[in-house]
């Protein structure tokens, strides 16, 4: 979404602008947030964080709609950092005493840290590619189960299959994925 599109939307209606931005980016924001909060946050924590992010975006739009290029970069930055804040808050609440040097923080930490994990990132990319190679609906099932932490029943509703079918497909897909990853040289014990 460009600055010009934003401006036109704001001119039409602030409410509509909010809605359009939300519809366009809610899945993106949700994916960013769950990548950070998956290990510590409940579903409610994640939804709460996503709504916080959009509130911040709306308030930023109240001030002005100038973005250098696409708004997506701004949304990604707000999302990531708000999620990290939430992670700290939730972790503290859970008495986990996470410090900035904790391994979990490294996962989504500073750019410098991320550079050190190029190899792991490359591995994750291969895993993602191999999941896509499974084809539908298996890719969706694996992603929803292991990225979004959805239960088989929830997935079954999303993709109009029975929960049993989802469970069974998931099992077979994992076997297939294991083979695909082994072929790609990723055979770490316990990964899958």
């Amino acid at each position: 979404m460009t600055e010009n599109e934003l401006r036109l939307l704001m001119a039409e209606s602030i409410q509509k602008c909010h809605r359009v931005i939300f519809d366009k980016y809610c899945n993106y924001v949700y994916a960013i947030v769950i990548n950070v909060l998956r290990s510590c946050g409940s579903r409610e924590d994640i939804e709460d964080c996503v709504s916080d992010i959009f509130m911040k975006i709306y308030k930023r739009l109240d001030k002005d709609t100038s973005f250098s290029g696409d708004i997506k970069g701004f949304i990604a930055a707000v999302s990531r950092n708000t999620a990290i804040d939430a992670y700290r808050r939730i972790s503290t609440k859970n008495m986990r005493n996470i410090s900035i040097d904790d391994d979990n923080m490294e996962t989504f930490g500073s750019d410098e840290r991320l550079i050190e994990h190029t190899e792991q990132k490359e591995q994750s990319r291969i895993i993602l590619d191999k999941i896509k190679e499974l084809g539908e609906p298996d890719s969706t099932i694996i992603i929803q189960q292991y990225y979004y932490n959805r239960t088989a029943k929830e997935i079954s509703k999303n993709i109009s299959m029975t929960a049993t079918a989802v469970q069974k497909r998931s099992s077979r897909a994992k076997q297939k994925l294991k083979l695909l990853l082994a072929e790609a040289g990723i055979g770490r014990e316990g990964l899958i």
């Binding site: 899945n27 709504s51 308030k59 990604a76 500073s110 069974k168 099992s171």
Partner: protein, 635 residues
């Protein structure tokens, strides 16, 4: 599998890919999160929760506001600058003023066009103008804020030339000053904003399974910017453009009881405590408060969205009355699109005496059918049945390979007692042993040979009236040592459900999604009827009742329709997003005995049947499932 290991190091591009290719949010989740974000936005406006691009994130990376590098960009933003966090109303005001100018232009053009027909009553043009003004009043009446009364934010007043001659630092400083002044105004106004809430329920709120939430009211007050200062002014305004009868009909809860005598910010027990008669506007300690969910209060009445730039039609003209047909994009009422506004001259003032949504008459036969589908549980208390489904979807193929289709079949045995409410189902899946045609008749022929006792239990769902439990058979994966899931959501009870008044009372919200969430509606097990109506049968023009048939001794009507929206569920290949459907609906109960979905080219994608249906006294009872020995793990 450790879920945190598999996706340990994803970069932003991968996350974006996942979001794009594997979106996960359901409509219900989206609506919930969106409503939450809007509420936070409004609350933070009122409570002056300051936010800026610099302070919004305290994480690793701090976002820096892009600098305005060119005068042209700056000039283009002149309209938008100056609004702070006090709701962004200054922006709204400026833009509304601007757009209302456009509206005037449109109206002028439309009016001049409308003067052409020589047969039109000479009073029509004047009445059209009156109707336009009244429609504006009607549309804006419930908005409690007056942009003209909102605080004046400093305006961006640089010309393009002035901006171009500034250094980047000078421009930054100029802009920062404006922002600082907006912030100061926000803080000042925020101190005079207040909010209070009330919740009304029945039972112990901590006992979720037995607690009935009857409503929540969130009231706000601003010292600056409200249109009205007390409830008398609200009524005075209403009576300036509507008759009392029209107010009573369209805004039945407009004015609530004075809240001063009630303790705010707590839950009231409807059975044991006195609670206020809530309304959209109410006085509290001498100040006017308005309900933030004002639109939801009227979700059961007509609501008109997005007025169209089309001439208002004037009919039934007399010297002291006329009817105006005002065009809207859509209304909250199914299959009706415009507003019919009856206007009368009331002692020299033109006022609205009645408002109705209008559109094609709803076919009574179709109405009866969708009502039955939505409220199928009214037509039986207990049910036992079997269910089977077959579906096709594309299998992953290597490059150069022919595309292959996955075919799956599911068998389910189910029992339910809608009144208890209890439910038990178990299912199995076979992947390749169905070779029949993909239609209901062939599927029924196939399932005749299946003995329920032979169906392997690979998953079970059980509702004991308190909670829903879900169990899946451990897979043969060595890392999957069996998971037992249970759903912590409380089972909806009749008391939680909104009374269902029929499909013609069904309402869309402003985003064109049904105002229809599971927790509001009747608990119903074993029926896809409501989902079919919501997804495929909402617009009557898109389907027809094409015949009758008898399936396994049950009389059914046949419904056929088209799917003209992108529907991932109804495709074999990704390009087959549109298609059509045929349903076989049980005349007695509204149970969709059979459904067939077809891809764009007519090939069947998905087919389901209910069979061996036994109702009430003939139904096999819901078995009691002993859950005590299960190793339930929170999932």
């Amino acid at each position: 599998m450790n879920k945190n290991d598999l996706f340990k190091e994803l970069d932003s591009m991968d996350i974006e890919n996942i979001a794009q290719e594997f979106p996960v949010l359901t409509d219900e989740e989206k609506e919930r999160i969106y409503a939450m974000s809007e509420r936070k936005y409004n609350i933070s406006d009122n409570t002056n929760e300051e936010f800026s691009s610099e302070t919004e994130v305290s994480g690793v990376e701090v976002y820096k506001r892009p600098k305005w590098r060119t005068a042209s960009i700056a000039a283009s933003l002149a309209l938008l600058i100056g609004a702070g966090s006090f709701g962004g109303y200054n922006i709204s005001k400026q833009l509304k003023n601007s757009s209302s100018g456009d509206d005037d232009t449109v109206t002028t053009i439309a009016s001049s066009e409308m003067t052409q027909p020589s047969t039109e009553d000479p009073r029509a043009e004047e009445y059209r103008s009156i109707a336009s003004g009244l429609a504006d009043e009607f549309d804006n009446f419930l908005d409690p804020l007056d942009e003209d009364k909102m605080p004046d934010y400093p305006e961006y007043d640089l010309s393009e030339e002035q901006a171009a001659n500034m250094t980047e630092e000078e421009f930054e400083a100029y802009y920062d000053n404006l922002e600082e002044e907006c912030r100061r105004i926000d803080e000042e106004c925020g101190q005079s904003a207040d909010s209070i809430w009330f919740e009304l329920g029945r039972g112990d709120p901590l006992d979720h399974a037995n607690y009935a939430l009857l409503g929540g009211w969130y009231y706000y007050h601003y010292d600056v910017g409200m249109k009205y200062s007390n409830t008398d002014e609200v009524m005075e305004k209403a009576l300036s453009f509507m008759t009392q009868d029209c107010i009573d009909k369209e805004f039945p809860h407009l004015i609530g009881e004075d809240l001063s005598g009630y303790e705010p910010n707590r839950i009231y027990d409807a059975d044991t405590e006195n609670y206020p008669d809530f309304g959209v506007f109410a006085m509290y300690n001498g100040a006017l408060y308005f309900d933030s969910d004002k639109n939801e209060r009227y979700s059961r009445l007509y609501y008109f969205f997005d007025r169209r730039d089309e001439p208002i039609e004037i009919t039934d003209i007399t010297d002291d009355s006329f009817t105006a047909i005002v065009k809207y994009d859509f209304t909250s009422v199914p299959n009706k699109y415009d507003m019919s506004m009856k206007v009368i001259n009331n002692g020299g003032s033109w006022v609205i005496s009645d408002v109705e949504p209008i559109g094609p008459e709803l076919d009574p036969q179709k109405l009866e059918l969708v009502d039955k589908l939505i409220n199928s549980c009214d037509y039986y208390d207990k049910l036992s049945a079997k269910y089977a489904s077959i579906e096709k979807n594309e299998q992953y193929c290597e490059e150069g390979e022919d595309r292959r289709i996955n075919k799956t079949i599911n068998n389910t045995v189910l029992f339910c007692d809608n009144r208890a409410p209890k439910e038990y189902t178990y299912s199995d899946n076979n992947y390749s042993d169905y070779s029949g045609e993909y239609d209901c008749a062939s599927l029924l022929e196939y399932v005749k040979g299946i003995n329920a006792n032979d169906i392997e239990k690979n998953s079970e769902t059980y509702c004991d009236g308190e909670k829903e439990y879900y169990w899946t058979n451990p897979t043969d994966d060595q890392n999957d040592n069996g998971h037992y899931h249970y759903n912590t959501y409380a089972v909806p009870h009749e008391g939680d459900a909104e009374k269902y008044d029929g499909f013609d009372k069904f309402r869309l919200n402003k985003y064109r999604s049904p105002n229809w969430y599971a927790f509001k509606f009747r608990p119903m097990f074993i029926s896809e009827g409501p989902w079919l109506v919501r997804t495929y049968m909402y617009e009557f023009s898109k389907w027809d009742i094409t015949g009758e048939t008898n399936i396994l001794d049950r009389d059914c009507c046949i419904v056929e329709g088209r799917i003209d929206f992108r529907n991932d569920e109804m495709c074999i290949y990704p390009e087959d997003y549109y298609g059509s459907f045929k349903f076989f609906i049980d005349k007695e109960t509204g149970i969709p005995i059979g459904t067939e979905f077809y891809a764009k080219d007519g090939e069947t994608v998905h087919c389901t049947v209910y069979y061996d249906i036994r109702l009430n006294d003939e139904a096999e009872p819901v078995p009691d499932v002993d859950i005590s020995g299960y190793n339930f793990t929170y999932k």
